[in-house]
Amino acid sequence: MSAAASVPDDAGTSAPLLSVRDLALHIPVPPHVLRAVDGVSFDLRRGETLGLVGESGSGKTLTALMLMRLLEPPLDSLPQGQVMLDGIDLMTLSEARMSALRGRTVSMVFQEPMTSLNPVMTVGRQIAEPLMRHLGLSAREAAARAEEMLRLVHIPDPRRVAGAYPHLLSGGMRQRAMIAIALACRPAVLVADEPTTALDVTVQAQILELLGELQREMGSAILLITHDLAVIAETAHRVAVMYAGRIVEEAPVALLFAAPRHPYTRGLLASIPRIERVPAATLPEIPGMVPGPADRPAGCAFTPRCARALPRCADAAPPLADLASGHRVACWNPADG
């Protein structure tokens, strides 16, 4: 797999735009406590794309919903930790102040555009709404900007589409419309949760190109959440791999694919079929399955599936420690680079 686009020059040195520390969601379900997200920390810099990868149940979507403050009651009172955006802790903001930021400074694109667009409002109105609400544009100005946004996301005939309802658009067009809504106010941070998973592969390629193009133009930072490592390989600058509610490895994208150190990352990369000249007779497998949040083992949650496990792995969870510059691994017995 190839390395992603060049990282912005100041990405390594500038202060992070978004800084997440010890983010956790522990849900009491007597007699258990489900540790759905269990201490997640990462930084996101201006103009950078961080890929958050994991399988279902790894906690990646909950992480996104927590930092957008979109969890619904009764879960909304449970998140712990810190989410600093440009010096403001989003976790302690009042709902009124958070809602002034949402859609303006931090925006989100969801996986399924059909269920996240309003079916009884025209596409143009849905793009205009945040512009009127956050930037105080008049209805007429906002409508003109909405058309401009549709043109920006390469929707043909933007005037007609602005007056159309979502059900009239194809899946790819709906996802473009949702990106237009999310980016209307030029947010500093865009959270994209599986933005191409529901799309066909040729349309996926279009949407990934579009996100990269808009990022270069607007300088937004993108948190790209996906289960698809190939998508990450193409679009992200850095990658954080999640397993059972925690980040187990984080590295610049080329390094993660070339020299993964965590046994889970290695197993995952090895198990993915690739288009190559001679297919191996059998694919390397990771034995067993991802444990549910109720039956997560003590210590490192990957221990029962891990070929490199030591006795101590079952006792204590390893911290996410620095191996080399920008390469962090949570493992007591990491593989050689």
């Binding site: 040729t202 490592l229 390989a233 079929p273 690739r274 288009i275 191996a280």
Partner: protein, 319 residues
């Protein structure tokens, strides 16, 4: 060359579009619009394409789960396309399917043992006493403990359920299994387990597979030959290597270059797949095709052989 196990010629599946109230026929969806395929014993043919290309409908028509509107389906030398239920019964045993969604394709009210015994009951095979033994053997074959027979589908993970779906397909010892996106709904770390299981079963039992998939990386790992579909037609058929490294049809090339993680020289197609109710004239791909000429809008290209086993339907490809 030996006669193929399955030979499909000129297969068409057209669905009527009816008006809301009077139910008058106001149009036709040409889901499958005249395709030719064959599958040899023990080989894997993959059918790839994007949503709406007709790959799943093709699979269902071959299994006679839906009726075709034209064409022939020769299985083991006999055309079964127009067979009635009685004539079809012996063929049903010889062809099976594994579905995409392991949650929706197992009856939640039946035990796994009941699900796996049902094929024997329907086809009146063996006696009730040896059912338990047959079921246990099937479970072992797919890597599940025999005790699983007493439990219900919801007690299993996605990967285990797909193993149960495969065990059910194996029950009657078929010669052909159609897998309709058998690993797409599974987690990445589980996909390899199921792919390996299916390859091992093929090697052990000489099964033929038709793998229907949108995932080209998975296909490149399992297929002997690949057929690429676009809007109801097969645009290119080739042996695996030929298709992945010497693709000739511009749609196949675009599909391959859209696969993420293969470098950044990507050829991005414009627009979406048109509706099969209103397919473009001539070559269905011409409005999105980077090399289309006037002729492509007027005349549908016939399939031509470029190399042994490599057929392409494109005016612009010279042999």
């Amino acid at each position: 060359m030996a006669e193929p196990l399955l030979k499909v010629s000129g297969l068409e599946v057209h669905f009527p579009i009816r008006s809301p109230f009077l139910q008058r026929r106001i149009g036709t969806v040409r889901a499958v619009d005249g395709i030719d395929l064959d599958v040899a014993r023990g080989e894997t043919l993959a059918i790839v394409g994007e949503s709406g290309c007709g790959k799943t409908t093709t699979g269902k028509a071959i299994l006679r789960l839906i009726d075709s509107t034209a064409g022939s389906i020769h299985f083991g030398g006999e055309d079964i396309a127009r067979h009635g239920a009685a004539a079809l019964a012996p063929f049903r045993r010889r062809m099976q399917i594994v579905f995409q969604d392991p949650y929706a394709s197992l009856n939640p009210r039946m035990t796994v043992g009941g699900i796996l015994a049902a094929p024997f009951d329907i086809h009146r095979i063996g006696v009730a006493q040896d059912r338990a033994e047959r079921v246990a053997a099937l479970l072992r074959t797919v890597g599940l403990p025999p005790e699983a027979a007493r439990r219900y589908p919801h007690e299993f993970s996605g990967g285990q359920r797909q193993r149960i779906g495969i065990a059910r397909a194996l029950a009657l010892e078929p010669e052909l299994i159609i897998g309709d996106e058998p690993v797409s709904a599974l987690d990445v770390s589980i996909q390899a387990q199921i792919i390996n299981l299916m390859k091992r079963l093929q090697a052990d039992r000489g099964l033929a597979y038709i793998m229907i998939s949108h995932n080209l990386a998975v296909v490149s790992h399992v297929a002997d030959r690949v057929a690429v579909m676009y809007l109801g037609r097969v645009v290119e058929t080739a042996p695996r290597e030929e298709l992945f490294f010497r693709a000739q049809h511009p749609y196949t090339q675009a599909l391959l270059s859209a696969v993420p993680g293969r470098g950044r020289s990507r050829q991005v197609l414009q627009g979406d797949v048109p509706s099969p109710a209103r397919p473009p004239t001539g070559c269905h791909f011409h409005p999105r095709c980077p090399i289309a000429q006037t002729r492509c809008a007027e005349e549908a290209p016939a399939s031509r052989i470029l190399a042994p086993g490599h057929a392409v339907a494109c005016h612009m490809v010279s042999p």
